[in-house]
Protein backbone atom coordinates (compact mmCIF):
# COMPACT_ATOMS: atom_id res chain seq x y z
CA UNK A 1 0.00 0.00 0.00
CA UNK A 2 1.31 3.36 -0.91
CA UNK A 3 0.80 7.01 -0.49
CA UNK A 4 -0.11 8.72 -3.72
CA UNK A 5 0.66 12.27 -4.67
CA UNK A 6 -0.56 13.85 -7.87
CA UNK A 7 1.17 17.11 -8.68
CA UNK A 8 0.04 19.70 -11.22
CA UNK A 9 -1.05 17.12 -13.75
CA UNK A 10 -2.39 18.42 -17.06
CA UNK A 11 -3.60 16.68 -20.17
CA UNK A 12 -5.04 17.97 -23.42
CA UNK A 13 -6.58 16.11 -26.32
CA UNK A 14 -6.58 17.81 -29.71
CA UNK A 15 -5.99 21.18 -28.13
CA UNK A 16 -8.80 20.77 -25.61
CA UNK A 17 -7.74 20.71 -22.00
CA UNK A 18 -9.19 17.69 -20.22
CA UNK A 19 -7.16 17.92 -17.01
CA UNK A 20 -5.92 21.27 -15.85
CA UNK A 21 -3.17 21.40 -13.25
CA UNK A 22 -4.64 18.86 -10.86
CA UNK A 23 -2.97 18.19 -7.50
CA UNK A 24 -4.09 16.03 -4.61
CA UNK A 25 -2.83 13.44 -2.20
CA UNK A 26 -4.13 10.10 -1.04
CA UNK A 27 -2.92 8.80 2.29
CA UNK A 28 -1.90 5.24 2.94
CA UNK A 29 -4.92 2.95 3.21
CA UNK A 30 -7.33 5.77 2.51
CA UNK A 31 -10.26 5.76 0.12
CA UNK A 32 -10.44 8.97 -1.86
CA UNK A 33 -13.32 9.62 -4.23
CA UNK A 34 -12.88 11.66 -7.37
CA UNK A 35 -16.32 13.13 -7.66
CA UNK A 36 -17.49 15.10 -10.64
CA UNK A 37 -20.03 15.34 -13.44
CA UNK A 38 -19.47 13.17 -16.50
CA UNK A 39 -16.92 14.65 -18.85
CA UNK A 40 -14.97 16.24 -16.02
CA UNK A 41 -11.89 14.18 -16.85
CA UNK A 42 -12.17 11.71 -13.98
CA UNK A 43 -11.46 8.58 -15.99
CA UNK A 44 -8.59 10.26 -17.83
CA UNK A 45 -7.05 11.19 -14.49
CA UNK A 46 -7.38 7.59 -13.32
CA UNK A 47 -5.71 6.35 -16.49
CA UNK A 48 -2.90 8.84 -15.97
CA UNK A 49 -2.32 7.49 -12.46
CA UNK A 50 -2.42 3.91 -13.78
CA UNK A 51 0.11 4.82 -16.45
CA UNK A 52 -2.17 4.15 -19.42
CA UNK A 53 -2.11 7.80 -20.44
CA UNK A 54 0.92 10.05 -20.21
CA UNK A 55 0.23 13.50 -18.80
CA UNK A 56 1.39 16.56 -20.75
CA UNK A 57 2.73 18.11 -17.56
CA UNK A 58 3.00 17.37 -13.88
CA UNK A 59 4.18 14.42 -11.88
CA UNK A 60 2.85 11.46 -9.93
CA UNK A 61 4.51 10.03 -6.84
CA UNK A 62 3.96 6.68 -5.15
CA UNK A 63 5.54 6.75 -1.68
CA UNK A 64 7.52 9.82 -2.61
CA UNK A 65 9.09 8.38 -5.77
CA UNK A 66 8.02 9.58 -9.19
CA UNK A 67 6.38 6.85 -11.25
CA UNK A 68 6.08 8.90 -14.41
CA UNK A 69 8.65 6.78 -16.21
CA UNK A 70 7.55 3.49 -14.72
CA UNK A 71 5.64 1.49 -17.36
CA UNK A 72 2.04 0.48 -16.69
CA UNK A 73 2.79 -3.15 -15.91
CA UNK A 74 5.41 -2.29 -13.29
CA UNK A 75 3.54 0.54 -11.61
CA UNK A 76 1.34 -1.59 -9.40
CA UNK A 77 -1.70 0.62 -9.85
CA UNK A 78 -4.53 -1.71 -10.77
CA UNK A 79 -7.51 -0.22 -12.53
CA UNK A 80 -10.90 -1.89 -12.31
CA UNK A 81 -13.01 -0.71 -15.23
CA UNK A 82 -16.67 0.16 -15.10
CA UNK A 83 -17.63 -2.93 -17.13
CA UNK A 84 -15.19 -5.24 -15.28
CA UNK A 85 -13.48 -6.46 -18.49
CA UNK A 86 -12.97 -10.01 -17.34
CA UNK A 87 -11.05 -12.04 -19.92
CA UNK A 88 -13.87 -13.95 -21.62
CA UNK A 89 -11.67 -16.84 -22.75
CA UNK A 90 -10.50 -17.65 -19.24
CA UNK A 91 -12.24 -19.20 -16.25
CA UNK A 92 -12.73 -17.30 -13.02
CA UNK A 93 -9.66 -19.04 -11.64
CA UNK A 94 -7.54 -18.09 -14.65
CA UNK A 95 -8.81 -14.55 -14.52
CA UNK A 96 -7.87 -14.08 -10.90
CA UNK A 97 -4.51 -15.79 -11.40
CA UNK A 98 -3.68 -13.69 -14.47
CA UNK A 99 -1.68 -11.01 -12.68
CA UNK A 100 0.22 -13.56 -10.60
CA UNK A 101 0.98 -15.61 -13.70
CA UNK A 102 2.32 -12.51 -15.43
CA UNK A 103 4.52 -11.89 -12.39
CA UNK A 104 5.91 -15.43 -12.69
CA UNK A 105 4.42 -16.79 -9.47
CA UNK A 106 4.61 -20.62 -9.48
CA UNK A 107 1.47 -22.60 -10.04
CA UNK A 108 0.86 -24.00 -6.56
CA UNK A 109 1.16 -20.54 -5.02
CA UNK A 110 -1.18 -19.13 -7.65
CA UNK A 111 -3.79 -21.74 -6.90
CA UNK A 112 -3.58 -20.99 -3.18
CA UNK A 113 -3.88 -17.25 -3.79
CA UNK A 114 -6.89 -17.77 -6.06
CA UNK A 115 -8.70 -19.79 -3.40
CA UNK A 116 -7.91 -17.11 -0.82
CA UNK A 117 -9.24 -14.39 -3.10
CA UNK A 118 -12.39 -16.33 -3.92
CA UNK A 119 -13.06 -16.78 -0.22
CA UNK A 120 -12.46 -13.08 0.32
CA UNK A 121 -15.07 -12.06 -2.24
CA UNK A 122 -17.55 -14.81 -1.27
CA UNK A 123 -17.21 -16.67 -4.56
CA UNK A 124 -16.03 -20.08 -3.42
CA UNK A 125 -16.83 -22.86 -5.85
CA UNK A 126 -16.92 -20.59 -8.90
CA UNK A 127 -13.33 -21.17 -10.04
CA UNK A 128 -14.21 -23.16 -13.15
CA UNK A 129 -17.02 -20.92 -14.39
CA UNK A 130 -16.55 -18.63 -17.36
CA UNK A 131 -17.35 -14.91 -17.14
CA UNK A 132 -20.45 -15.24 -19.32
CA UNK A 133 -21.94 -17.58 -16.73
CA UNK A 134 -21.76 -14.95 -13.99
CA UNK A 135 -24.20 -12.23 -12.96
CA UNK A 136 -23.22 -8.56 -12.85
CA UNK A 137 -22.46 -8.59 -9.15
CA UNK A 138 -20.42 -11.77 -9.44
CA UNK A 139 -18.42 -10.33 -12.32
CA UNK A 140 -17.70 -7.31 -10.19
CA UNK A 141 -16.46 -9.50 -7.35
CA UNK A 142 -14.20 -11.46 -9.67
CA UNK A 143 -12.83 -8.23 -11.14
CA UNK A 144 -12.12 -7.03 -7.63
CA UNK A 145 -10.48 -10.33 -6.67
CA UNK A 146 -8.38 -10.24 -9.81
CA UNK A 147 -7.20 -6.74 -8.96
CA UNK A 148 -6.50 -7.55 -5.30
CA UNK A 149 -4.67 -10.78 -6.12
CA UNK A 150 -1.63 -8.86 -7.35
CA UNK A 151 -1.46 -6.89 -4.08
CA UNK A 152 -1.64 -3.52 -5.81
CA UNK A 153 0.03 -0.43 -4.38
CA UNK A 154 -3.08 1.48 -5.25
CA UNK A 155 -6.49 0.32 -6.37
CA UNK A 156 -8.26 2.47 -8.95
CA UNK A 157 -12.01 1.97 -9.31
CA UNK A 158 -13.72 3.57 -12.29
CA UNK A 159 -17.44 3.97 -11.59
CA UNK A 160 -17.45 0.47 -10.10
CA UNK A 161 -21.12 0.30 -9.19
CA UNK A 162 -22.82 2.14 -12.00
CA UNK A 163 -23.60 -1.02 -14.01
CA UNK A 164 -25.42 -2.71 -11.13
CA UNK A 165 -29.09 -2.39 -10.31
CA UNK A 166 -29.83 -0.17 -7.30
CA UNK A 167 -30.27 -2.87 -4.67
CA UNK A 168 -27.13 -4.75 -5.69
CA UNK A 169 -25.28 -1.46 -5.94
CA UNK A 170 -26.00 -0.81 -2.29
CA UNK A 171 -24.66 -4.16 -1.13
CA UNK A 172 -21.60 -4.13 -3.42
CA UNK A 173 -20.78 -0.66 -2.17
CA UNK A 174 -20.82 -1.84 1.42
CA UNK A 175 -18.93 -4.97 0.50
CA UNK A 176 -16.20 -3.08 -1.36
CA UNK A 177 -15.87 -0.49 1.36
CA UNK A 178 -15.60 -3.18 4.01
CA UNK A 179 -12.98 -5.07 2.02
CA UNK A 180 -11.01 -1.88 1.40
CA UNK A 181 -10.97 -1.07 5.13
CA UNK A 182 -10.03 -4.58 6.16
CA UNK A 183 -7.16 -4.83 3.69
CA UNK A 184 -6.21 -1.15 4.09
CA UNK A 185 -5.75 -0.65 0.38
CA UNK A 186 -5.05 2.84 -0.86
CA UNK A 187 -7.96 3.39 -3.19
CA UNK A 188 -9.09 6.05 -5.62
CA UNK A 189 -12.71 5.72 -6.65
CA UNK A 190 -14.20 7.66 -9.52
CA UNK A 191 -17.89 8.45 -9.40
CA UNK A 192 -20.44 10.96 -10.57
CA UNK A 193 -22.83 9.94 -7.81
CA UNK A 194 -22.42 12.36 -4.88
CA UNK A 195 -24.41 10.14 -2.55
CA UNK A 196 -22.10 7.24 -3.24
CA UNK A 197 -19.06 9.44 -2.70
CA UNK A 198 -20.42 10.69 0.62
CA UNK A 199 -21.15 7.18 1.84
CA UNK A 200 -17.95 5.37 0.93
CA UNK A 201 -15.13 7.91 1.05
CA UNK A 202 -12.64 8.93 3.67
CA UNK A 203 -12.12 12.05 1.64
CA UNK A 204 -13.61 13.48 -1.53
CA UNK A 205 -11.90 15.44 -4.28
CA UNK A 206 -14.43 17.34 -6.38
CA UNK A 207 -13.33 17.51 -10.01
CA UNK A 208 -15.24 19.89 -12.27
CA UNK A 209 -14.13 20.91 -15.77
CA UNK A 210 -10.74 19.31 -15.38
CA UNK A 211 -9.66 20.94 -12.14
CA UNK A 212 -10.02 20.10 -8.48
CA UNK A 213 -12.45 22.47 -6.79
CA UNK A 214 -12.26 21.09 -3.29
CA UNK A 215 -10.72 18.25 -1.31
CA UNK A 216 -12.14 17.33 2.06
CA UNK A 217 -14.01 14.86 4.21
CA UNK A 218 -17.58 14.08 3.15
CA UNK A 219 -18.91 16.36 5.92
CA UNK A 220 -16.67 19.25 4.89
CA UNK A 221 -17.57 18.98 1.25
CA UNK A 222 -21.27 18.67 1.99
CA UNK A 223 -21.62 21.33 4.67
CA UNK A 224 -18.89 23.72 3.63
CA UNK A 225 -18.55 23.60 -0.14
CA UNK A 226 -15.72 25.78 -1.38
CA UNK A 227 -17.69 27.33 -4.19
CA UNK A 228 -21.12 27.67 -5.69
CA UNK A 229 -20.14 25.07 -8.33
CA UNK A 230 -19.36 22.48 -5.66
CA UNK A 231 -22.51 23.33 -3.73
CA UNK A 232 -24.59 22.96 -6.89
CA UNK A 233 -23.10 19.56 -7.63
CA UNK A 234 -23.47 18.08 -4.15
CA UNK A 235 -26.87 17.19 -2.82
CA UNK A 236 -30.42 17.33 -4.08
CA UNK A 237 -31.98 20.36 -5.72
CA UNK A 238 -31.41 23.38 -3.55
CA UNK A 239 -32.77 26.86 -3.03
CA UNK A 240 -30.76 29.73 -4.44
CA UNK A 241 -31.59 33.12 -2.99
CA UNK A 242 -29.86 36.24 -4.19
CA UNK A 243 -29.20 39.11 -1.84
CA UNK A 244 -26.76 41.69 -0.56
CA UNK A 245 -24.51 41.83 2.46
CA UNK A 246 -24.05 45.12 4.20
CA UNK A 247 -22.41 45.58 7.61
CA UNK A 248 -22.60 41.89 8.40
CA UNK A 249 -26.25 41.51 7.52
CA UNK A 250 -27.50 39.54 4.53
CA UNK A 251 -30.69 41.04 3.13
CA UNK A 252 -32.76 39.02 0.72
CA UNK A 253 -36.44 38.55 -0.15
CA UNK A 254 -36.68 36.06 2.72
CA UNK A 255 -35.64 38.66 5.24
CA UNK A 256 -32.50 39.88 6.95
CA UNK A 257 -30.05 37.40 8.42
CA UNK A 258 -26.76 37.83 10.22
CA UNK A 259 -23.68 37.15 8.13
CA UNK A 260 -20.82 38.32 10.32
CA UNK A 261 -17.96 36.86 8.26
CA UNK A 262 -19.03 38.16 4.88
CA UNK A 263 -17.52 41.22 3.25
CA UNK A 264 -20.00 43.68 1.78
CA UNK A 265 -21.21 42.75 -1.69
CA UNK A 266 -23.63 40.71 -3.73
CA UNK A 267 -24.16 37.11 -2.63
CA UNK A 268 -26.14 33.97 -3.45
CA UNK A 269 -27.36 32.01 -0.47
CA UNK A 270 -27.66 28.26 -1.03
CA UNK A 271 -30.23 26.72 1.27
CA UNK A 272 -30.75 22.97 1.36
CA UNK A 273 -34.37 21.80 1.39
CA UNK A 274 -33.84 20.07 4.75
CA UNK A 275 -33.07 23.45 6.35
CA UNK A 276 -36.41 24.90 5.38
CA UNK A 277 -39.03 24.03 8.01
CA UNK A 278 -42.66 23.90 7.34
CA UNK A 279 -45.44 23.90 9.92
CA UNK A 280 -49.24 24.22 9.94
CA UNK A 281 -49.94 27.69 8.78
CA UNK A 282 -50.93 31.04 10.03
CA UNK A 283 -53.01 33.25 7.75
CA UNK A 284 -50.53 36.12 7.82
CA UNK A 285 -47.38 34.14 6.85
CA UNK A 286 -48.34 34.37 3.18
CA UNK A 287 -46.86 30.98 2.25
CA UNK A 288 -48.92 28.41 0.37
CA UNK A 289 -48.07 24.87 -0.64
CA UNK A 290 -47.57 24.82 -4.40
CA UNK A 291 -46.52 21.25 -5.05
CA UNK A 292 -46.13 18.04 -3.06
CA UNK A 293 -43.87 15.09 -3.87
CA UNK A 294 -44.42 12.15 -1.58
CA UNK A 295 -41.21 10.06 -1.37
CA UNK A 296 -42.23 7.63 1.34
CA UNK A 297 -39.79 8.32 4.14
CA UNK A 298 -39.91 12.04 3.53
CA UNK A 299 -41.92 14.59 1.57
CA UNK A 300 -40.70 17.26 -0.84
CA UNK A 301 -42.72 20.46 -0.89
CA UNK A 302 -42.54 23.48 -3.08
CA UNK A 303 -43.92 26.47 -1.24
CA UNK A 304 -44.72 29.86 -2.70
CA UNK A 305 -45.01 33.41 -1.51
CA UNK A 306 -45.40 36.39 -3.80
CA UNK A 307 -43.69 34.68 -6.73
CA UNK A 308 -40.87 33.33 -4.59
CA UNK A 309 -40.53 29.54 -4.51
CA UNK A 310 -38.75 27.47 -1.89
CA UNK A 311 -38.00 23.76 -1.88
CA UNK A 312 -38.54 22.07 1.42
CA UNK A 313 -37.90 18.61 2.78
CA UNK A 314 -40.15 17.53 5.63
CA UNK A 315 -40.87 14.42 7.66
CA UNK A 316 -43.95 12.39 6.82
CA UNK A 317 -45.93 12.80 10.06
CA UNK A 318 -48.04 15.64 8.72
CA UNK A 319 -48.95 15.79 5.04
CA UNK A 320 -49.87 19.20 3.66
CA UNK A 321 -51.98 19.51 0.54
CA UNK A 322 -51.42 21.91 -2.36
CA UNK A 323 -53.05 25.25 -1.71
CA UNK A 324 -52.80 24.88 2.06
CA UNK A 325 -51.49 27.86 4.03
CA UNK A 326 -48.33 27.03 5.92
CA UNK A 327 -45.70 28.63 8.05
CA UNK A 328 -42.15 28.51 6.71
CA UNK A 329 -38.95 29.12 8.62
CA UNK A 330 -35.46 29.02 7.23
CA UNK A 331 -32.54 27.84 9.34
CA UNK A 332 -30.20 30.44 7.96
CA UNK A 333 -27.24 29.38 10.09
CA UNK A 334 -26.92 26.33 7.81
CA UNK A 335 -27.14 28.36 4.60
CA UNK A 336 -24.06 28.78 2.45
CA UNK A 337 -23.17 32.21 1.12
CA UNK A 338 -21.23 32.69 -2.09
CA UNK A 339 -20.17 35.98 -3.52
CA UNK A 340 -21.66 36.40 -6.98
CA UNK A 341 -21.86 38.97 -9.66
CA UNK A 342 -25.33 39.53 -11.01
CA UNK A 343 -25.86 39.90 -14.69
Amino acid sequence: MAEIRVENVSKAYKGEKIINGVSFEVNRGELLSLLGPSGAGKTTLLKIIAGLVRPDAGNIFFDGASVLNVPVEKRGAVLVFQDYLLFPHMTVEQNIAFGLRMAGVPENKRRKAVLEMLALVDMKGYEHKYPHELSGGQKQRVALARALAVKPRVLLLDEPFSNLDPRLRESMREFTRDLQRRMEITTILVTHDWEEALMVSDRIAVLINGSIKQVGTPEEVYFRPASLEVAEFLGEKKNYVKGRVKDGVFSCPLGDFPAPQAVDGLYTAVIRPEHVRISPGVEISGWTVHDVRFAGGCIYYKVMKEGLFLLCLASNDVIHRPGERVDVSVDFSKAMLFETSFD
Partner: protein
Protein backbone atom coordinates in the same frame (compact mmCIF):
# COMPACT_ATOMS: atom_id res chain seq x y z
CA UNK B 1 -47.67 -15.90 -45.86
CA UNK B 2 -44.61 -13.89 -44.94
CA UNK B 3 -42.92 -16.98 -43.55
CA UNK B 4 -43.60 -18.89 -46.75
CA UNK B 5 -42.03 -16.12 -48.80
CA UNK B 6 -38.89 -16.16 -46.66
CA UNK B 7 -38.65 -19.91 -47.05
CA UNK B 8 -39.02 -19.61 -50.81
CA UNK B 9 -36.19 -17.08 -51.01
CA UNK B 10 -34.10 -19.37 -48.85
CA UNK B 11 -34.70 -22.41 -51.03
CA UNK B 12 -33.98 -20.47 -54.20
CA UNK B 13 -30.75 -19.20 -52.70
CA UNK B 14 -29.65 -22.63 -51.53
CA UNK B 15 -30.68 -24.14 -54.85
CA UNK B 16 -28.78 -21.43 -56.69
CA UNK B 17 -25.63 -22.40 -54.84
CA UNK B 18 -26.16 -26.14 -54.80
CA UNK B 19 -27.22 -26.63 -58.41
CA UNK B 20 -23.89 -25.72 -60.04
CA UNK B 21 -22.15 -27.87 -57.43
CA UNK B 22 -24.41 -30.79 -58.25
CA UNK B 23 -23.71 -30.36 -61.97
CA UNK B 24 -20.03 -30.29 -61.17
CA UNK B 25 -20.34 -33.46 -59.14
CA UNK B 26 -22.16 -35.27 -61.96
CA UNK B 27 -19.65 -34.08 -64.56
CA UNK B 28 -16.83 -35.38 -62.40
CA UNK B 29 -18.00 -38.90 -63.17
CA UNK B 30 -19.56 -38.42 -66.61
CA UNK B 31 -17.87 -39.43 -69.81
CA UNK B 32 -20.70 -38.40 -72.09
CA UNK B 33 -23.59 -36.14 -71.23
CA UNK B 34 -25.12 -35.09 -74.55
CA UNK B 35 -28.18 -32.94 -75.01
CA UNK B 36 -31.13 -33.63 -74.34
CA UNK B 37 -30.37 -36.36 -71.80
CA UNK B 38 -31.13 -35.52 -68.20
CA UNK B 39 -28.38 -37.80 -66.95
CA UNK B 40 -25.02 -38.78 -68.44
CA UNK B 41 -25.06 -41.68 -70.84
CA UNK B 42 -21.64 -43.02 -69.92
CA UNK B 43 -19.54 -42.83 -66.77
CA UNK B 44 -15.81 -42.73 -66.19
CA UNK B 45 -13.19 -42.14 -63.53
CA UNK B 46 -10.59 -40.94 -66.01
CA UNK B 47 -10.20 -37.50 -64.43
CA UNK B 48 -9.68 -38.89 -60.94
CA UNK B 49 -7.05 -41.28 -62.21
CA UNK B 50 -5.38 -38.39 -64.03
CA UNK B 51 -5.46 -36.29 -60.84
CA UNK B 52 -4.04 -39.01 -58.64
CA UNK B 53 -1.65 -40.65 -61.09
CA UNK B 54 2.03 -39.95 -60.28
CA UNK B 55 2.96 -39.76 -63.95
CA UNK B 56 0.95 -36.58 -64.59
CA UNK B 57 2.52 -34.79 -61.63
CA UNK B 58 -0.73 -33.16 -60.62
CA UNK B 59 -0.70 -33.99 -56.93
CA UNK B 60 2.75 -32.44 -56.34
CA UNK B 61 1.50 -29.24 -57.97
CA UNK B 62 -1.55 -29.27 -55.72
CA UNK B 63 0.66 -29.70 -52.68
CA UNK B 64 3.08 -27.02 -53.86
CA UNK B 65 0.15 -24.70 -54.42
CA UNK B 66 -1.22 -25.44 -50.97
CA UNK B 67 2.16 -24.72 -49.46
CA UNK B 68 2.63 -21.50 -51.44
CA UNK B 69 -0.79 -20.18 -50.45
CA UNK B 70 -0.19 -21.19 -46.84
CA UNK B 71 3.04 -19.20 -46.79
CA UNK B 72 1.24 -16.25 -48.39
CA UNK B 73 -1.55 -16.52 -45.82
CA UNK B 74 0.90 -16.68 -42.94
CA UNK B 75 2.86 -13.67 -44.20
CA UNK B 76 -0.31 -11.71 -44.90
CA UNK B 77 -1.63 -12.31 -41.38
CA UNK B 78 1.71 -11.45 -39.79
CA UNK B 79 1.81 -8.17 -41.75
CA UNK B 80 -1.89 -7.42 -41.30
CA UNK B 81 -2.01 -7.85 -37.52
CA UNK B 82 0.03 -4.80 -36.53
CA UNK B 83 -1.39 -2.70 -39.37
CA UNK B 84 -4.98 -3.57 -38.47
CA UNK B 85 -4.35 -2.97 -34.77
CA UNK B 86 -2.88 0.45 -35.48
CA UNK B 87 -5.75 1.40 -37.79
CA UNK B 88 -8.32 0.26 -35.24
CA UNK B 89 -6.82 1.71 -32.04
CA UNK B 90 -4.81 4.79 -32.90
CA UNK B 91 -5.65 8.19 -34.24
CA UNK B 92 -2.86 9.66 -36.30
CA UNK B 93 -2.27 12.14 -39.08
CA UNK B 94 -2.99 10.68 -42.49
CA UNK B 95 -4.89 7.69 -41.14
CA UNK B 96 -7.66 8.08 -43.69
CA UNK B 97 -5.13 8.23 -46.53
CA UNK B 98 -3.42 5.09 -45.30
CA UNK B 99 -6.75 3.28 -45.09
CA UNK B 100 -7.50 4.15 -48.70
CA UNK B 101 -3.98 3.22 -49.73
CA UNK B 102 -4.21 -0.15 -48.00
CA UNK B 103 -7.48 -0.93 -49.72
CA UNK B 104 -6.35 0.28 -53.14
CA UNK B 105 -5.41 -3.21 -54.49
CA UNK B 106 -9.09 -4.12 -54.08
CA UNK B 107 -10.09 -1.22 -56.29
CA UNK B 108 -7.25 -0.98 -58.78
CA UNK B 109 -6.99 -4.11 -60.94
CA UNK B 110 -3.68 -5.78 -60.20
CA UNK B 111 -3.41 -6.58 -63.89
CA UNK B 112 -2.93 -2.89 -64.53
CA UNK B 113 0.19 -2.65 -62.40
CA UNK B 114 1.47 -6.19 -62.89
CA UNK B 115 3.64 -5.09 -65.81
CA UNK B 116 5.48 -2.54 -63.73
CA UNK B 117 5.96 -5.03 -60.94
CA UNK B 118 7.25 -7.59 -63.42
CA UNK B 119 9.87 -5.24 -64.80
CA UNK B 120 11.08 -4.40 -61.32
CA UNK B 121 11.07 -8.02 -60.22
CA UNK B 122 13.23 -8.94 -63.20
CA UNK B 123 15.67 -6.24 -62.17
CA UNK B 124 15.67 -7.51 -58.59
CA UNK B 125 15.99 -11.13 -59.67
CA UNK B 126 12.64 -11.99 -58.15
CA UNK B 127 10.92 -12.89 -61.40
CA UNK B 128 10.43 -16.61 -62.08
CA UNK B 129 11.05 -17.44 -58.41
CA UNK B 130 8.82 -18.79 -55.66
CA UNK B 131 9.49 -15.76 -53.45
CA UNK B 132 8.63 -13.41 -56.24
CA UNK B 133 5.27 -15.11 -56.58
CA UNK B 134 4.73 -15.09 -52.80
CA UNK B 135 5.52 -11.39 -52.74
CA UNK B 136 3.19 -10.53 -55.58
CA UNK B 137 0.40 -12.60 -54.02
CA UNK B 138 0.62 -10.39 -50.94
CA UNK B 139 -0.66 -7.56 -53.11
CA UNK B 140 -4.26 -8.80 -53.58
CA UNK B 141 -4.24 -10.57 -50.17
CA UNK B 142 -3.20 -7.77 -47.83
CA UNK B 143 -6.32 -5.63 -48.25
CA UNK B 144 -8.50 -8.56 -47.17
CA UNK B 145 -6.29 -9.39 -44.22
CA UNK B 146 -6.05 -5.82 -43.00
CA UNK B 147 -9.69 -4.99 -43.64
CA UNK B 148 -11.07 -8.02 -41.81
CA UNK B 149 -8.68 -7.74 -38.88
CA UNK B 150 -9.28 -4.00 -38.50
CA UNK B 151 -12.95 -4.79 -37.98
CA UNK B 152 -12.06 -7.49 -35.49
CA UNK B 153 -9.75 -5.21 -33.53
CA UNK B 154 -12.27 -2.37 -33.39
CA UNK B 155 -14.92 -4.79 -32.16
CA UNK B 156 -12.56 -6.00 -29.44
CA UNK B 157 -11.56 -2.49 -28.35
CA UNK B 158 -8.29 -1.60 -26.68
CA UNK B 159 -9.56 -1.52 -23.12
CA UNK B 160 -9.21 -5.25 -22.53
CA UNK B 161 -5.52 -4.83 -23.41
CA UNK B 162 -5.29 -1.96 -20.96
CA UNK B 163 -6.82 -4.20 -18.32
CA UNK B 164 -4.13 -6.82 -18.93
CA UNK B 165 -1.43 -4.14 -18.80
CA UNK B 166 -2.49 -2.76 -15.42
CA UNK B 167 -2.53 -6.30 -14.06
CA UNK B 168 1.17 -6.52 -14.83
CA UNK B 169 1.39 -7.99 -18.33
CA UNK B 170 3.96 -6.42 -20.66
CA UNK B 171 3.02 -5.63 -24.26
CA UNK B 172 4.17 -8.97 -25.63
CA UNK B 173 2.43 -11.07 -22.98
CA UNK B 174 -0.73 -9.02 -23.34
CA UNK B 175 -0.66 -9.71 -27.05
CA UNK B 176 -0.01 -13.43 -26.66
CA UNK B 177 -2.34 -14.22 -23.79
CA UNK B 178 -5.17 -11.77 -24.26
CA UNK B 179 -5.31 -10.15 -27.68
CA UNK B 180 -4.49 -13.10 -29.92
CA UNK B 181 -6.81 -15.64 -28.26
CA UNK B 182 -9.63 -13.11 -28.32
CA UNK B 183 -9.24 -12.22 -31.99
CA UNK B 184 -8.60 -15.84 -33.07
CA UNK B 185 -12.05 -16.31 -34.65
CA UNK B 186 -11.37 -13.24 -36.79
CA UNK B 187 -7.92 -14.56 -37.54
CA UNK B 188 -9.48 -17.77 -38.89
CA UNK B 189 -11.90 -15.81 -41.07
CA UNK B 190 -9.11 -13.64 -42.44
CA UNK B 191 -6.93 -16.71 -42.97
CA UNK B 192 -9.61 -18.45 -45.01
CA UNK B 193 -10.35 -15.39 -47.10
CA UNK B 194 -6.69 -14.68 -47.80
CA UNK B 195 -5.99 -18.32 -48.63
CA UNK B 196 -8.79 -18.39 -51.17
CA UNK B 197 -7.58 -15.18 -52.78
CA UNK B 198 -4.05 -16.51 -53.07
CA UNK B 199 -5.11 -20.00 -54.14
CA UNK B 200 -7.24 -18.60 -56.97
CA UNK B 201 -4.57 -16.29 -58.38
CA UNK B 202 -3.90 -17.07 -62.00
CA UNK B 203 -2.64 -14.08 -63.88
CA UNK B 204 -0.15 -12.78 -61.30
CA UNK B 205 1.33 -16.24 -60.75
CA UNK B 206 1.58 -16.73 -64.46
CA UNK B 207 3.28 -13.43 -65.12
CA UNK B 208 5.70 -13.27 -62.20
CA UNK B 209 6.26 -17.03 -62.02
CA UNK B 210 7.02 -17.05 -65.70
CA UNK B 211 5.72 -20.60 -66.03
CA UNK B 212 8.36 -21.88 -63.62
CA UNK B 213 6.16 -21.54 -60.59
CA UNK B 214 3.18 -23.73 -61.41
CA UNK B 215 0.14 -23.58 -59.18
CA UNK B 216 -3.04 -25.61 -59.21
CA UNK B 217 -5.19 -22.87 -60.69
CA UNK B 218 -2.73 -22.73 -63.61
CA UNK B 219 -3.39 -26.41 -64.28
CA UNK B 220 -7.12 -25.95 -63.93
CA UNK B 221 -7.35 -23.05 -66.34
CA UNK B 222 -6.43 -24.81 -69.61
CA UNK B 223 -8.95 -27.57 -68.91
CA UNK B 224 -11.79 -25.14 -68.43
CA UNK B 225 -10.68 -23.16 -71.46
CA UNK B 226 -10.18 -26.30 -73.56
CA UNK B 227 -13.68 -27.52 -72.92
CA UNK B 228 -12.81 -30.82 -71.27
CA UNK B 229 -15.73 -30.68 -68.90
CA UNK B 230 -15.00 -33.95 -67.18
CA UNK B 231 -11.44 -33.00 -66.25
CA UNK B 232 -12.45 -29.43 -65.38
CA UNK B 233 -15.07 -30.78 -63.02
CA UNK B 234 -12.61 -33.12 -61.32
CA UNK B 235 -10.05 -30.35 -60.93
CA UNK B 236 -12.65 -27.89 -59.69
CA UNK B 237 -13.78 -30.34 -57.04
CA UNK B 238 -10.17 -30.88 -56.01
CA UNK B 239 -9.83 -27.11 -55.82
CA UNK B 240 -12.89 -26.75 -53.61
CA UNK B 241 -11.84 -29.74 -51.52
CA UNK B 242 -8.43 -28.25 -50.85
CA UNK B 243 -9.94 -24.98 -49.69
CA UNK B 244 -12.41 -26.80 -47.41
CA UNK B 245 -9.57 -28.88 -46.02
CA UNK B 246 -7.66 -25.71 -45.31
CA UNK B 247 -10.66 -24.17 -43.57
CA UNK B 248 -11.08 -27.14 -41.24
CA UNK B 249 -7.35 -27.46 -40.60
CA UNK B 250 -6.99 -23.77 -39.74
CA UNK B 251 -10.04 -23.83 -37.51
CA UNK B 252 -8.78 -26.90 -35.63
CA UNK B 253 -5.27 -25.50 -35.34
CA UNK B 254 -6.40 -22.17 -33.90
CA UNK B 255 -8.88 -23.77 -31.52
CA UNK B 256 -6.24 -26.10 -30.21
CA UNK B 257 -3.77 -23.28 -29.79
CA UNK B 258 -6.28 -21.14 -27.89
CA UNK B 259 -7.14 -24.02 -25.60
CA UNK B 260 -3.47 -24.70 -25.04
CA UNK B 261 -2.97 -21.07 -24.17
CA UNK B 262 -5.63 -21.42 -21.53
CA UNK B 263 -4.13 -24.60 -20.26
CA UNK B 264 -0.91 -22.74 -19.62
CA UNK B 265 -2.58 -20.41 -17.23
CA UNK B 266 -2.80 -22.82 -14.32
Amino acid sequence: MHRRFVNLVLYVAIGGIMFPMAVLLVWAFAREWPWPHLFPTAFTARGWLYLLSPSTGTLPVLLYSLLLSSVVTFLTLVLSLPAARALAFYEFRGKRAIEVFVLSPMVIPTTAIAMGIHVNFIRLGLADTLWGVVLVHLLPCLPYGIRILTGVFSALGDRIEQQARVLGACRLKTYLYVTLPLISPGLVTAGIMVFIVSFSQYFLTFLIGGGRVVTFSMLLFPFIQGGDRHLSAVFSLAFIGTVLLWVFALEALVRRWVRKGQYFYL
